[in-house]
Symmetry: C2
Subunit: 428 residues, 2 copies
């Protein structure tokens, strides 16, 4: 069998070289149309491959996917498919790769099947790909943590003492994770300016994005179990882009001592296509040197970061988009494997579909920062947009779009985008 990551593979579907979804990617998502209920699909070029239809035509029959086939592909989330386990994910991806190869006539020459299985992405609605019952947001970019420390604490001691020892994280709100394209309503909340006598309640004046990536857990554990660092990636199904919308004024008033709460829980956006860790394999890179060396349970060999180019654009209502940041996921100080092993190190049970977000991914230059807070440096250097306006934080009507892709030796594996538009706050 051909390696589905082989850069030489081609599909009988015409795919632009700049597409995020060549035959080497094959990310999983959930879509619906007016005629078809929620179904699992795979992105290929400008198309979606309907896996329920593929299964109905019998193309998965010899894969031994279990008694729930083909119903697992007619679900509102990927969870049941993911729960089948890595051998199943790999078998399905391998089969899809075969079916889409330029030299395989099985699907390409079966007009009825092709018509039934392939839909244009522009003709479907993408849904939230995974139902995550548990969502942790880490804080694993050393540049971001340092920037926040400089702004809000002590520039001379910007990183807190625990930061280089622990992949710091907190539990986020799972219910308000929404798929790309969902509008985000500006939250009302309590905030208090440092010089104000008392707090007030009203629309956040410091609405922000956070450029993040997140991984989806593909294998659960029992309470009391742990995950050795060398096995941690076996528990990861794939990755998405993640916008951890943040209301800085609400957050700064509420977060001491128990952490972020309503400053975050009004919404978090995910991209609709989950790129498998298998597809990302060619893009492994070493992370930053960790100093001091982590404790034994977090110590890893080899390369556990992934080289994903990221960008953030802001488009004002009716205007053109300005790309305000370029960053890279490969910069992360703590790897996904370390995050996952740490999460489970106290015996906390993992569940299939758990979402673990990276924390804001900031680079080392002023144009590579992952939030408005940092880009405009707490409002002191407003960010210019193409329409001549500028931003300290987000305005109503702004659409924020994040994109990500890997590129190496002529092969491009992309994540598509996660986008959301700010609606005005509810009137009080």
């Amino acid at each position: 069998m051909a390696n589905p990551n082989d850069p030489a593979l081609r599909s009988w579907i015409d795919i632009a070289p700049t597409s995020d979804f060549p035959i080497q990617n094959l990310p999983f998502g959930v879509f619906e149309t007016d005629e078809r209920g929620p179904r699992v699909g795979v992105a290929i070029g400008e198309y979606v491959l309907d896996l329920y239809a593929v299964a109905q035509f019998g193309y998965f029959e010899d894969l031994e996917l279990g008694p729930k086939m083909p119903k697992i592909f007619r679900r509102r989330s990927l969870n049941q498919f993911i729960a089948l386990g890595r051998p199943a994910w790999r078998a399905v991806r391998q089969r899809i790769s075969e079916l889409l190869r330029h030299d395989n006539p099985t699907l390409a020459r079966n007009e009825e099947a092709m018509h039934s299985c392939l839909l244009r992405q522009s003709d479907v609605r993408m849904l939230r790909p995974v139902r995550s019952h548990n969502y942790t947001d880490f804080y694993s970019s050393i540049e971001h943590a340092t920037n926040v420390g400089i702004m809000f604490r002590d520039p001379a001691n910007a990183l807190l003492p625990n930061w280089r020892h622990i992949p710091i994280g907190y539990h986020g709100r799972a219910s308000s994770i929404v798929v790309s394209g969902t509008d985000i309503r500006r939250p009302n909340g309590q905030r208090k300016a440092p010089d104000a006598a008392a707090p007030t309640f009203g629309p956040s004046q410091q609405l922000d994005f956070e450029l993040e990536m997140a991984f989806i857990v593909g294998r659960g554990t029992e309470l009391g179990d742990t995950v050795p660092i060398q096995n941690a990636e076996d528990y990861i199904f794939g990755m998405v882009l993640f916008n951890d919308w943040s209301a800085r004024d609400i957050q700064s008033w509420e977060y001491v001592p128990l952490g972020p709460f309503l400053g975050k829980s009004f919404g978090s956006s995910v991209s609709p296509w989950v790129v498998t860790l298998d597809a990302l394999e060619p893009f492994r890179v070493a992370g930053p040197v960790q100093e001091p060396e982590p404790l034994l349970y977090l110590r890893q060999l080899d390369e556990h970061n992934f080289d994903v180019n990221l960008e953030v654009g802001i488009q004002p209502e009716g205007g053109l988009e300005t790309v305000v940041s370029h960053s890279n996921f490969g910069l992360m100080y703590w790897s996904m494997a370390q995050q996952l092993t740490h999460q489970a190190s106290n015996g906390c049970n993992l569940e299939v579909g758990d979402l673990y977000a990276s924390g804001t991914i900031s680079g080392t230059t002023p144009d590579s920062l992952g939030s408005m807070l940092e880009l405009a440096w707490r409002g002191t250097r407003p960010v210019p947009l193409a329409d001549g306006s500028e931003r300290k934080f987000l305005q109503d009507g702004d659409t924020v779009t994040m994109r990500g892709y890997c590129e190496k030796d002529g092969l491009r594996i992309g994540f598509g985008e996660v986008t959301g538009k700010i609606l005005p706050a509810n009137t009080l």
Copy 2:
């Protein structure tokens, strides 16, 4: 129809006056036996009423509980039943009250039905009553927050500036909520003594309980919706006892700046019977005076606290239990209505089954504190046990049991208990 809270009601089942489960209570839970899969039941005296059996005998037929009947009573959680809404909860509780009344022969004289519907509590295994996809832990006892502030921050400014303005809370880990009776394994984790040069990884040396109560959401909202304070209790199905196990050494090293994480997520225990807010109605009390007056969205009239007597016992392996604390839920500074309204105030969507815990419920006297941290005052005044030993924190083999009940005018409505035994940490 008789008011199911009427203190004069009696059942044809013999119920001890000290029972937590008289005919005026009728809490809901989920049980199983070797013969019967998971089913919804109601506690009555020393018995469980099997609602699936009751439904099969046709006793709910005229209640119009919808097309999912009677399957909703053959489920591993109460969620589907709760999702039917308050009119359904009330209709079912009313009907059960009627069936169990001393003067109603319908069930009492139908030997076949009675045999099928009533099981001894000692013959069933109780399961986690609700599947909570979202769990928030509040911090709403002013005595607890003050004690923690005195111990870890500034005795002169023990309460943080936001505390009297916001029902402070944080998202907890939903996956590790377990039912009473589940053993709790001592977690391993990173901790660093203040005078140590570097952290180490190993078993927590400061394992603690937190005496809490929690409420279960019975009605969801859409993202962007809010819950006016005057309607907040309409969204609450009922309450349980809650032990928020805490590893203080892990917590104190990890929690700045993003809050508690692995110091809590290794397990949280709930009592198996959910006492409805309807059953608690006779036990309303006013809460403490709130000063300053909360902002308008949190301002409430009437009485929104509930007078629940609470106690905590510690039983060493093979020894007798010592009750180490007596507290009361009526002391809480922030009410459940205020917590829920605050949670939803930024548009965060609620889901049926959400669990909102109160935070540690401490009283004003040294014997009414809700955690070992406070009872032993950070290890400075060890707590004596009946077997002659003493505790600064919990030891392996200790069983912690929390109990709660309301009592007024001869009527007692109880919660049963939430209990858990500490197992030794996994070897590294």
